[in-house]
C-alpha cells in the first residue's frame, strides 16, 4: 500500500498489541501442554491456539485484513488445495482394504 492512505502511527499501536497477545498465547499453548489431556482435545486445542496466532500475524503484520480481492482469491484456492492434499491421503488410508 502506498504511503499516503495509511495512518502509520495507528498501525504501530496495533502491532504492539498483537505482539503482546502473541507472546501471551505462546505461553498459553505451553501451559495447556502441561495439563494432562487425552490426545484428541489436546491436538484440537493446540491447533486452535496456533491458528489464532497465525491469523493474528497474517491479518496485522501481513496486512491481510485490508488486502485486495485478488490476493484473497489466490489464497482461498491455495487453502482449498492444501485441504485436498491433507485429507485425500488420510481418507484413502482410512478406507484401505486389508491391514
Amino acid at each position: 500500500m502506498s504511503a499516503h492512505d495509511v495512518d502509520v502511527d495507528k498501525h504501530v499501536r496495533t502491532y504492539i498489541i498483537v505482539f503482546v497477545s502473541l507472546l501471551a498465547l505462546t505461553l498459553v499453548t505451553v501451559a495447556i501442554s502441561y495439563l494432562e489431556m487425552t490426545t484428541g482435545p489436546a491436538v484440537a486445542l493446540a491447533l486452535l491456539v496456533a491458528t489464532v496466532k497465525a491469523s493474528l500475524v497474517a491479518c496485522f503484520f501481513m496486512h491481510l485484513i485490508s488486502e485486495r480481492k485478488l490476493i484473497y482469491l489466490v489464497l482461498g484456492f491455495t487453502v482449498l488445495f492444501f485441504l485436498f492434499v491433507l485429507l485425500g491421503p488420510l481418507a484413502t488410508e482410512a478406507n484401505q482394504v486389508g491391514v
Binding site: 504511503a3 498501525h11 505482539f19 495447556i32 501442554s33 493446540a46 500475524v57 488410508e93
Partner: protein, 201 residues
C-alpha cells in the same frame, strides 16, 4: 534492460490495486503453503498410521523451554520487521536501520538456539534415522531453518547495500521491505504451527 520500462513495478495497477512485486510475493507464499502443507500432511498421515505407542510425545524428547524462547524470538523479529517497514513509511532512515538490524539479529539468535538444540540431540545419538518422529522433526525444522537463512540474507541486503535505494527511489525500496517482510512473517507463521505439533503434542 528492455527499451520500454515494465509497467506497475512500483505503482499499483488500477484494476487490481497491486504492483507486480506484491502479487509476485503472495503467489510465492501460496506455493510455500503447499510445500509446508504437504510436509504437514505427511506428518499427520505418518503419525495416524504409526503403531499404537510408537509415536513419542514431542516434549519427551525435545527441549520445550528453548523452543518457547525461539518462538518468542521469531515473534519479536516479526514485530521489528514491520516496524522497519513502518519507519520506511515515516521516512525515518535511522529507525529503519535499527529495526531492520534487530530483525536480522533475531534471525541469528534463532539459528543459534536451533544449533544448540540440534547438537544436543546428536550428542544423545538422536538422528533423523532414529525414528519417524525425529525424521519429520529434522526435515521440517531444517527446511524452516533454510527459509530463515534465506529471509535473513535478503533482510541483511536491504539493511546494507540495498539501502542505497533509499535515496534513489524510496517508494520502490519501501515495497521491497514490505515484500521481504511478508516472507519473513510467513516464516514466523510456519514456526507458529511447527512449535505445537512438533514440541507439545
Amino acid at each position: 534492460m528492455s527499451v520500454t520500462a515494465i509497467p506497475y513495478t512500483v505503482e499499483p495497477r488500477p484494476d487490481t490495486g497491486l504492483n507486480n512485486v506484491k502479487l509476485g510475493i503472495w503467489l510465492f507464499l501460496a506455493s510455500e503453503v503447499m510445500l509446508f502443507g504437504a510436509l504437514f500432511a505427511s506428518y499427520i498421515l505418518l503419525r495416524v498410521g504409526a503403531d499404537a505407542g510408537t509415536w513419542p510425545r514431542g516434549d519427551s524428547i525435545l527441549n520445550v523451554p528453548l523452543a518457547t524462547l525461539n518462538t518468542a524470538v521469531l515473534i519479536t523479529s516479526s514485530v521489528t520487521m514491520v516496524m522497519a517497514w513502518a519507519s520506511c513509511m515515516r521516512r525515518d532512515f535511522g529507525k529503519f536501520r535499527l529495526y531492520q538490524g534487530l530483525t536480522v539479529l533475531a534471525g541469528f539468535v534463532f539459528l543459534g538456539i536451533k544449533y544448540v538444540e540440534y547438537t544436543s540431540k546428536f550428542h544423545h545419538d538422536l538422528f533423523p534415522s532414529t525414528s519417524t518422529f525425529l525424521a519429520i522433526y529434522f526435515t521440517l525444522t531444517g527446511l524452516h531453518a533454510l527459509h530463515v537463512i534465506g529471509g535473513m540474507a535478503y533482510n541483511a541486503y536491504l539493511w546494507g547495500p540495498g539501502a542505497r535505494m533509499w535515496k534513489s527511489d524510496l517508494e520502490q525500496f519501501t515495497n521491497r521491505v514490505e515484500a521481504s517482510g511478508l516472507f519473513w512473517h510467513f516464516v514466523d507463521l510456519v514456526w507458529i504451527f511447527l512449535f505445537p505439533i512438533l514440541y507439545l503434542l
